[in-house]
Point group: C2
Chain length 298, copies 2
């Protein structure tokens, strides 16, 4: 590609740019962002070639646009893009939720909706900002594209090809299916971990409790160290699916409470054993899938 | 010490023996267990000097006895010990729950209860059995002693001194306080992680869900890979305290569900932010406390 534009040059957008540059897949990367200092830092780090304050200039001649800003800004960015979006440009995003992004895109882009291919790279890191960006971030990781009925297959392939250049594995799901899956395996665990730590922190003897928390607690609550703003936005954006998963989990806890209150060790052990077996099977699959990436392939 | 006896020569008991031997704090370690092959393996590994099938022989002249078998066996082991327990011997244990152990000890030992000092080393590893035992397991880790009113301070000190030789830091709590603390920071998280994985594994589209589970899910559910039998025993042994913590957590989830259903992003963010702040503060404290151990001190 001759030119791409990236809205949000932090960990996600910056790593995408570095990977494409490293693969020789793009000649010019234009960065757009709200903060001049961040854009300048991204330029100094070689993530972008040009820092652009004009959306019109950024989009002119761009073959691909990636929106990698906080998900709550996606609608506003799409609205700013819409009037300047030319037929040769494909827009994608990196948001953790998809149904809300599709709705925002339909509202913002109107008849140009066919040019928007929603995406979600399943990768991240503890740190954020352009200094955290790295070309290897997506190596061996999944990118889920939730293509729209309006999308031309060539446009979907343009987005998929760019992610493949980053070393990512392309998966395709419907937007609702995506949101339901990630509500279960990502959004709910985050809510549960935040909830547990907040619950403990509010107790009168919180200091005593934290003093004896050990490695199991550390692993279980690691995701409670994540950004509250980001997870507020994800929770609200995926409200319906997250409520469904939360309700099913609360019903599961109520069942387990019943077993515990009845002193039914056999019943509890059946739940624990099924979980342990499933966890081990899943972990084996994941480790097998990750081996090529760890060994340097993709 | 001239002689100690260890009931259960796996990870916990074996590491205790290796650490004491490494520190030159004991001349002879006698091992007692249900499986001849395990005892023989422990002897071959240098964990114990003598494998003993007679409780009477094992206890004769022992200054310290550690019960490090699965917690559900503690009562039966104490009952087997009782008739052979001489005045010069102090007995301790390594169980994850304490109120139930104290009750079992009172029932089994009767007037000899003063010779039992309950304990709980806060250390573990993924593996078990004598081959997993290592002298460094307790280095820099906490050991909680829940001394009884009947215990002579010199007997408590004999147990504390042995653990200090292993490099452990001695903490003292009441048995009920201990169980309430660990229900909150260990037993409840285990139940929640088992519950989540079982919940997902039972869904019709479980394979699809597990396919997209990533690093956050892996950390959150790592403790669901633990032994179902061990956690069944702990859950039932600490039933009352675990029920209290579970009820408070279910109330917390009900509150969070209300915020989510109302689309109250600000309310959710307040919970998330309080959790994130507490998690970061806790993690800093833990990292500071662990630094000497990591750097080779104790």
């Amino acid at each position: 590609m001759k030119k791409i534009a990236i809205f949000g040059v932090g960990l996600i957008g910056g790593s995408f740019a570095l990977a494409l540059k490293g693969a020789g897949a793009v000649q010019q990367v234009v960065g757009v962002g709200r903060t001049a200092a961040t854009l300048e830092r991204a330029r100094a780090l070689g993530i972008i070639d040009v820092a652009c304050t004009s959306v019109q200039d950024a989009l002119a001649g761009a073959e691909l646009v990636l929106i990698a800003a906080p998900v709550a800004q996606t609608g506003a960015i799409l609205a700013a893009i819409a009037p300047h979006l030319q037929p040769g440009t494909v827009v994608t995003d990196a948001g953790s939720t998809k149904s809300d992004v599709v709705a925002a895109a339909r509202a913002a882009l109107g008849p140009k909706i066919a040019q928007f291919v929603p995406g979600h790279p399943i990768a991240g890191a503890e740190l954020s900002g352009p200094d955290a960006a790295m070309a290897q971030l997506y190596r061996g990781k999944k990118v889920v594209l939730t293509a729209l009925p309006e999308n031309a297959e060539a446009d979907v392939e343009r987005v998929a090809g760019a992610w493949r250049h980053c070393g990512a594995l392309i998966h395709r799901l419907g937007a609702e299916q995506h949101d339901s899956v990630f509500a279960a395996v990502s959004h709910l665990p985050h809510l549960l971990a935040f909830g547990l730590v907040d619950d403990i922190a509010r107790k009168a003897h919180a200091d005593l409790l934290f003093q004896y928390a050990a490695s199991g607690f550390r692993d279980f609550t690691r995701i409670a160290g994540s950004s509250p703003e980001m997870w507020r936005d994800i929770s609200i954006a995926n409200q319906a699916a997250l409520l469904r998963e939360l309700d099913e989990y609360m019903a599961q806890l109520a069942r387990m409470r019943g077993l515990l209150a009845a002193g039914d060790g056999t019943g509890l052990e059946a739940v624990y054993a099924n979980a342990q077996q499933a966890r081990h099977a899943w972990n084996k699959t994941i480790e097998a899938a990750e081996r090529p990436a760890i060994e340097g392939g993709n």
